[in-house]
Symmetry: C2
Subunit: 187 residues, 2 copies
DNA sequence: TGTACATCAGTGAACGCGCGTTCACTGATGTAC
DNA sequence: TGTACATCAGTGAACGCGCGTTCACTGATGTAC
């Protein structure tokens, strides 16, 4: 049965939020339309009232995931501290275990490289947003360059740590943490 | 019809080599058993004379991919130079474009994190091998820590560069290249 | 404000398709004598 | 070394399954008068 326009909008938000979680946990292919709709509390049939196809949802979900993930870097009165806390949280064992609420780049990078242009565009915008947020916390003329370099280190560390055994993972995270800690004091 | 034992061994090697290429290009799920067997010059039915299931092939293919990729770091008379060349080649636009012959970690990291234990074990061993190779080219007491940190930066840079648009990709690669060049002179 | 009707969000069955895997079959290879 | 037979690598059809997508249907919502 038909629902009101406001309820439809809420349904759409639930679908996007569920997708933003599931794609990070299971990958772009691993999260099926059926799984996502079920996680949003609906059946699969209604999906196409909200999105032309799966690709459109994936793009919206990636945008939402980056928005959520970059939030601590954007609405802060102390960008340097936010930046430092972001790095520390990024390299934590909690982040390693909780893909679903973690960095979209570390969860989906290679998947996105193989995906369509709409998904890639959403991902590019998200990476820019995170890099800008990090750069705001760096006092230096080449803040953006340093931010991109740091982001690469963070993403690579998490990609590796999640794929290797626990012992090696700890070693990788602490090796990169040492450098992240270095940043705010020595640069 | 039956083929000789030597030819069977050659078939197996062709399958593993084809898989090592295809999984890096298309992902662990994206490379189907049929695609791989076709690339190896056979039909899909014969696959199960060589492997119990797809997971066993994926593990063998990941091992083969890392062996090939880490080779320049291992058989060299000048580890420092090999290490530096490895970093420069890693961050090149050629590597960004040619996934199929590139770093397995940058191509498959998140896929592996979602895969079975056999695949993960092969990946862990591969990452260790590359890290050891890099460390051999670093003169410092904490060579392994620096190598792991460098590897994280390289992997993250390539994961990001492949997923974002060309302009941002260039920026990421050059930001990390600056640091890679720094390593051999200033540390 | 009330009424009559068109719209359409959500349901659940159904579709075509590609996947990993199985299987009967073939004939050359391996092996026991 | 020759012979007879068991083995088995590779083929191609077939399987069950889950996927993205479509569709007829429902009844509450939106809208024109």
């Amino acid at each position: 049965m038909r629902v009101s326009n406001e309820e439809k909008e809420r349904s759409r938000e639930r679908i996007v939020a569920a997708a933003a979680r599931l794609i990070r946990d299971c990958g772009l292919q691993g999260a099926s339309v059926g799984d996502i709709m079920q996680a949003a509390g609906m059946t699969h049939g209604g999906f196409y009232r909200h999105f032309a196809d799966k690709e459109h949802l994936l793009a919206a979900a990636i945008t939402a995931a980056f928005d959520e993930f970059a939030r601590p870097l954007q609405h802060t009165s102390n960008p340097t501290r936010a930046s430092d806390e972001f790095r520390a949280r990024y390299l934590s064992p909690v982040h390693r275990l909780h893909r679903a609420k973690g960095c979209p780049a570390a969860a989906l990078g290679p998947d996105v490289a193989r995906a369509g242009s709409e998904v890639r565009a959403a991902f590019s915008a998200g990476v820019s947003k995170v890099a800008d947020g990090l750069a705001r916390g760096i006092q230096a003329g080449d803040a953006r360059e340093l931010a991109l370099r740091d982001l690469a280190t963070l993403v690579g560390a998490m990609v590796l740590a999640r794929a290797v055994d626990d012992t090696l993972a700890r070693e990788i995270l602490s090796a990169c943490h040492a450098r992240a800690a270095l940043r705010s004091s020595s640069r």
